[in-house]
């Protein structure tokens, strides 16, 4: 053999070696579904509301938008129009004694409390936003940019989907309705000729009650369309089904898996001074004597360390002449809402000298009402899913899993812990961008399982967590 031939042998593998590894094991497909045009029906959760406001990047990170992008790999037309807000600070609506007040989103920042202690926590992006500007953001119509694929509207209950003129009452719909005074929200779906829909409604029918500490009404299960949950739900879903026969439906998570209700401890009153303990016990002696005299089990006692808050409870069984004594210490399984003013707790005597107002507490009775309604709604939702052969995401089960054991995706730990749990935004109810991506993957799995499709899952790690200063 000649030396030259040997060099050819040596060079041969160089040619083979030019091939790099390549994997193509996943081919997206639509299965038996048609994802050509996707419409998302829902409330604030579907709208991409987060940290207490609707704002551009939150809307863009909404799970429905993420799903639409992934559906584009499996036959979707790639069009998913969102009625984007013109502000990144966002607009949220809060009710005050003087009427509606518009707020910006919450961000993590430093604030100084009544004890002059500086700490990191949720603060408004802008504490004093110009109300006129805010109303302009909210009221300026974007209807001419439609029709929209994301027709979710913050704050709506099921009956609102069918209510003519909703746009006059709910500016989040008014801003993209063609004729706010007459249009029906659910009819927006037909405008994009949908082939596939997502339908996640009903949360506010129970959340309105729960987030108001039981002061606002809960939607009754029975009753005619526009009154009862069942009839309204069926009617609204049927209208969507007339437009598209395929879709995914989600149910309603229980309040006990959401940080809005699970963050402030019931025993947040910390007493360190024995004199304070003695003074409080003395102050509540007449109360304890009154309860004893009436044969009622309520007693208020204080000790060093952590103590349950004193709360108003309008349902306490006291004779009418003692109505001013309808307060008691909160029980371990009762819930204090995230919105309770911390300064009032720390410095205003709330929970000790002054009972905590009803609007910041869910009592045992109220929690039971919430659970009963949630269970009833979820049964109706599941029945409708089965009757119409739709894909189904058990968000309730998913959130319970997050709350009890956590969920991990792409190395991110999701828990229901406020701020550090990665899932919930700073309002304690709506999701972070990462949380939306995680939920979008669960929606995708539910769809793929039902329709034998292969919508690719999204990288949860591509989406940002809460912003820290």
């Amino acid at each position: 053999m000649k030396t030259r031939n040997l060099f050819y042998i040596i060079l041969l593998p160089l040619i083979i070696a030019s091939c790099k590894p390549e994997i193509n094991d996943f081919t997206p497909s639509n299965g038996s579904a048609d994802f050509t045009s996707f419409v998302a029906v829902g409330n604030s959760l579907t709208a991409g509301y987060a940290s207490g406001a609707l704002y551009t990047s939150g809307q863009e990170a909404g799970f429905a938008n993420i799903m639409a992008k992934q559906m584009a790999f499996a036959g979707g037309n790639g069009v998913f129009k969102i009625p984007l807000m013109p502000t990144e600070d966002g607009v949220g609506i809060s009710e005050t004694e003087n009427g509606l007040y518009l707020t910006t989103k919450l961000v993590l920042g430093y604030s100084t409390d009544c004890l002059e202690q500086r700490s990191l926590g949720p603060i408004p992006a802008n504490p004093n936003p110009d109300q006129q500007t805010m109303w302009d953001y909210l009221k300026t119509s974007v209807a001419d940019q439609g029709p929209f694929n994301n027709i979710a509207v913050p704050g709506i209950k099921v009956a609102h989907l069918l209510a003519p003129g909703l746009g006059s009452f709910n500016p989040f719909y008014g801003r993209f309705a063609t004729n706010p005074a007459t249009d029906v929200l659910i009819n927006e779906a037909a405008k994009v000729n949908p082939t596939f829909f997502s339908f996640w409604v009903g949360n506010n029918d129970v959340l309105d009650y729960a987030t108001s500490g039981g002061l606002k009404p809960i939607t009754p299960v029975a009753g005619a369309v526009s009154v009862g949950f069942q009839a309204s739900y069926v009617a609204a879903l049927q209208i969507v089904l007339n437009d598209a026969s395929q879709g995914v439906v989600a149910n309603i998570p229980d309040v006990t898996s959401v940080p809005f209700f699970m963050t402030v401890p019931y025993n947040a009153i910390v007493l360190t001074n024995p004199d304070d303990v003695a003074a409080l016990n003395q102050a509540y002696t007449p109360y304890n004597q009154l309860m004893e005299a009436n044969g009622l089990p309520y007693r208020i006692n204080w000790e060093l360390g952590q103590n349950p808050m004193v709360i108003f409870d309008k349902d306490m069984p006291l004779p009418d002449q003692y109505a001013q004594y309808k307060f008691r210490q909160i029980k371990e399984d009762e819930l204090v809402l995230l919105t309770i003013p911390q300064d009032s707790l720390k410095c205003g005597g709330w929970g000790t000298a002054k009972p905590v107002p009803d609007m910041f507490v869910l009592t045992e009775t109220e929690i039971q009402n919430v659970k009963t309604a949630t269970d009833a709604y979820n049964t109706i939702i599941k029945d409708n899913v089965d009757a119409n052969g739709l894909a189904f995401l058990d968000v309730n089960g998913l959130m319970k899993q997050v709350a009890t054991q956590g969920i991990i995706a792409d190395g991110i730990d999701f828990t229901s812990t406020f701020v550090t749990g990665n899932l919930f935004s700073l309002d304690g109810i709506h999701l972070t961008p990462q949380g939306n991506a995680m939920v979008a993957d669960y929606f995708i799995r539910a769809i793929n399982a039902k329709y034998n499709s292969k919508i690719p899952e999204v990288n949860v790690s591509d989406y940002p967590p809460l912003v820290l200063p």
Partner: protein
């Protein structure tokens, strides 16, 4: 001279992930061309690594051997249930060796070897889907081994060496805080071990070798941990912290047989038992805020057995050609497969050429191509998985001189 050695080390220190786990057996270009078989062969001073027992069979008084390989590797990844793909952007890495041996008498030969049998490096994009597991890693270990070998009679040799190891680890992974947070870990570890072997040539045409290299625990003490995190967290997580970690370099038991079928043709078979079982968990413990930062990362490796075949043909007095194949199964656990060490079932072939222009001088060229078999893997603690595939090409060059 000292300066030069350190320069050489700095250049060659990092070796790309390419063999089972983070082992790299490119410690002699003659052996590399021969399917990485070196236990039952007489290849001069490079036997310091492969089998100190055969060192005393070297023919001349002095023997020197230096060389290096260039590992060009690529890893492809496709995420589970997704069309997302990622690829590493690995820099070429260069394991090297330097050996010198002196035959004191017919009975005793001594030698010194410096080589790099373990190393791993992978560079993923900083924003890839697995960024919270790993963004970049490089491990390396340089072994320094003084060795003594006894030629008990002309059929049997035994040898042993003491091993001093200089190791380093550098890694970077993203942290799930805003502003593209990440942590960089940079640590060094020195440790000791040994390498011992027996070489038996019962008849001229048959050579048998058995070699054991001990496990070595690389313990990083007070490595630097640098956290790039939002200022809000810097009160809780110290930006500059120290960490301890321990990485085991597994023991090897290699057994090989070589047969001279004709004067010119040699065939060999080797089986290497790599005791990866020792790599159970990768623990990091931090000096400050340990309760918050410490982590135990299960790896659950299992032992692997690598069969190798080699063929060598002497074309004439100045040219020898070699070839080899081997199968290197992954020691990883399919549920604890981290993208920091993408070790798949590897099939490889090797080619080699030695040119001896003058008596005692050999120029050794080797070529290795490795095909990591596509497989779906998951790292369950982080719920991150997908299909991995890898390839590597490894050209190598060495020069040995004996006199």
């Amino acid at each position: 001279m000292k300066k030069i050695i350190f320069f050489v080390m700095a250049v060659f220190i990092s070796t790309t992930m390419f063999a089972g786990g983070y082992q790299v057996r490119l410690q002699g270009n003659k052996q590399t061309g021969f399917g990485l078989i070196g236990t039952p062969t007489i290849y001069g001073s490079s036997s310091i690594f492969y089998n100190p027992g055969s060192l005393s069979f070297m023919k001349k008084k002095w023997d020197f051997d230096v060389g290096a390989s260039v590992i060009l590797s690529d890893i492809a990844f496709q995420k589970s249930e997704s069309n997302y793909q990622a690829e590493t952007d690995n820099k070429a890495s260069t394991p090297f060796y330097v050996y010198g041996a002196y035959k004191i008498s017919d009975l005793i030969t001594i030698g010194l070897g410096v080589y790099t049998p373990y190393g791993s490096s992978a560079t993923w994009n900083n924003d890839w889907a697995g960024k919270f597991l790993i963004q970049k890693i490089s491990l390396s270990a340089i072994y320094i081994q003084p060795t003594i070998s006894f030629n008990i009679n002309d059929k049997l040799g035994i040898g042993a060496g003491f091993v001093y190891t200089i190791g380093s680890v550098k890694m970077r992974k993203a942290l799930n805080y805003s502003g593209d947070s990440y942590v960089e870990l940079d640590g060094k570890a020195n440790s000791i071990g040994f390498n011992a072997g027996i070489f038996w040539q019962p008849v001229d045409i048959l050579k048998i070798g058995l070699n054991y290299r001990s496990a070595i625990k690389m313990s990083v003490k007070d490595g630097d941990a640098t956290f790039h995190i939002p200022s809000a967290l810097q009160g809780t997580i110290p930006v500059n912290n120290k960490f301890d970690a321990e990485l085991p370099l597994p023991a090897n038991l290699d057994f090989g047989v070589a047969v001279n079928v004709t004067d010119k043709l040699m065939l060999a078979f080797e089986l290497d038992w790599v005791m990866w079982n020792v790599y159970d968990t990768l623990n990091f413990s931090f000096k400050e805020q340990g309760a918050l930062l410490n982590s135990a990362n299960p790896r659950l490796y299992k032992d692997s057995f690598i069969p190798r075949l080699g063929i060598q043909y002497d074309i004439n007095k100045t040219i020898i050609v070699r070839g080899g194949v081997y199968y290197d199964p992954t020691p990883t656990n399919a549920d604890y497969f981290s993208p920091e060490t993408v070790s798949l079932n590897n099939i490889a072939y090797t080619l080699g050429l030695s040119i001896m222009p003058v008596e005692g001088l050999s120029i050794d060229i080797s070529w290795l191509q490795l095909f990591g078999q596509k497989a779906e893997k998951n790292y369950s603690p982080d719920n991150f998985g997908g299909t991995y595939q890898s390839t590597a090409i490894v050209p190598g060059l060495g020069i040995s001189y004996s006199f």
